[in-house]
Amino acid sequence: MRASFGVWICALVALPMLAVLARAADGGLSGAWEAITRPAALHALGLSFGLSLLVVGIDLIFGLATAWALVRWDFPGRRLVSALVDLPFAVPTLVAGILLVVMLGPQSTLGGALAGVGIDVIYAWPGMILALCFVTLPFVVRAVEPVLEELDPAEEEAARTLGAGEALIVRQVLLPPLLPALAVGAGQSFARAIGEFGAMAVLSGNVPRETLVGSVYVLGEVEAGDSVEAAAVSVVLLVVSIIAQLVVSRVNQPWGRE
């Protein structure tokens, strides 16, 4: 009986996804391929992918720095910074977009100044990257923090007194436990960024083949009545983010393991 409930939940989740898959294949595999390789679709997917990778890179650097600073050092405002780190996860992503428009839109002082020197932020890649960084900010930080806290500084001290250089310490002592955590943070950030819609709906430029990302492209197709094209591109986005999610699950040692 209980097992059948498990099957029931699988069905609840799988059915909508299967429906998308089925609709994508409505025009046959060639139809789906054509829909995906259309210039606007291809560019939108590529843009989502590229921006997400870039954002993960930024997250890894700054996230690691933030986790390090929070765990190892004492500085004024440490508690505030720690509290702020969690906020992007709570706040609806649409609101995140609004925040950036308020702060960097052309009518704001900062945005106006930037526009004056020819730097477009809102409706252009810089704004989109900032929004994605906002919504993915907590992941690397919170994934790395517990690992850093567990690290015994005595190990590093021991390595130092034995004459090991910083590089060696980083490689042998610090990196091994950190890598899985970084992978988890990166995977979660990537999965979130590639499917991001709310913030993108507010501040991406939506110009096909320039500032149109995958998720907003899908919306456009849905509103244009082209559900097959929408489904085809959705399948690509789904596959990519599911793979990222799987990476996270495997590394995370899920509670299902014996």
């Binding site: 996804m17 720095a65 609806p92 308020v102 900032l130 900010l137 709906a201």
Partner: protein
């Protein structure tokens, strides 16, 4: 493990710390501050637009959706978590992955999926028509979408706790002659109190913030399928910036409060 002893950053450490502070405060703190300033600059306008443009109705709808998601998610999540943690059956690994699926799906794709399922020619359209339920552009669609995106939270929290506490208490109760139902109500459920609390907080926060799926499925019809998030979107379109910022601030405040109430580890495990 030696207790964590924080030192003041120096040299390169200072650079790292400065970067971290700039990163977090600049990206999160300042924008939120800017929103507060924007709302604080014209509070009367904000309130009037919220009241007159249907903001209260939209917020009420979002809250109802959140309550629904908690009830549905709580029940299915608890049962599902028990199944996941306690049962060994073929396909369990599949369930493991399936439960996490809603987290990997872009909201607009969730909306698309339900439009395909319940729209013209959809697999479930005959069922909905037979039941006399309108899914697209009506509130049932909103409920479905919200329940879907909130599915993982309870399941994962419950399964996590059950894995940790093990079956010893439950087994003890069984040997004392308790029925399965009694075991469930008097032993298992109390163990799950914390998990249910975390699940509730995460679900409410997620339900309040859902935008893409409800936009696609509901159409943001004023007075019928307008939620707090689509209200923000509509306000921006109607040049009622004050109303948009006001509702954004309300949503930000509510969700931040909810997540702040979580134990630290639970927040980003989402």
């Amino acid at each position: 493990m030696t207790p964590r002893h924080r030192t003041k950053p120096q040299g390169f450490g200072l650079v790292v710390t400065a970067a971290a502070i700039l990163w977090v405060v600049g990206l999160v703190g300042v924008p939120l501050g800017a929103l507060l300033l924007a709302v604080g600059a014209e509070p009367a306008q904000v309130v009037s637009e919220l009241v007159q443009q249907g903001g209260l109705d939209a917020l009420g709808r979002s809250i109802v959706l959140a309550v629904f998601a908690v009830i549905v998610g709580g029940v299915t999540g608890t049962l599902g978590g028990i199944v996941l943690a306690r049962q060994r059956f073929w396909g369990r690994a599949v369930l493991d992955v399936a439960v996490d699926l809603p987290l990997a799906v872009s909201p607009v794709i969730v909306g698309l999926a339900f439009v395909i399922l319940y729209g013209r020619g959809g697999w479930l359209e005959p069922l909905a028509t037979a039941l006399g339920v309108k899914v697209l552009f009506a509130t049932p669609g909103l409920f479905l979408a919200t329940a879907f995106v909130c599915l993982p939270f309870f399941v994962r929290e419950v399964a996590l706790v059950l894995e940790e506490v093990g079956t010893s208490e439950e087994d003890a109760a069984r040997t004392l002659g308790a029925s399965e139902w009694q075991v469930f109500v008097w032993v298992t459920l109390p163990q799950l109190r914390g998990a249910l609390r975390v699940g509730t907080l995460l679900t409410v926060a997620r339900a309040l913030g859902e935008f893409g799926a409800v936009l696609v499925l509901g159409g943001a019809i004023e007075g019928r399928t307008q939620t707090a998030t689509t209200f923000v979107h509509t306000m921006m379109e109607e040049r009622h910036d004050a109303g948009a910022f006001g509702m954004s601030l309300i949503l930000a405040a509510m969700t931040v409060l909810l997540v702040q109430a979580l134990p630290t580890g639970a927040r980003t495990k989402h």
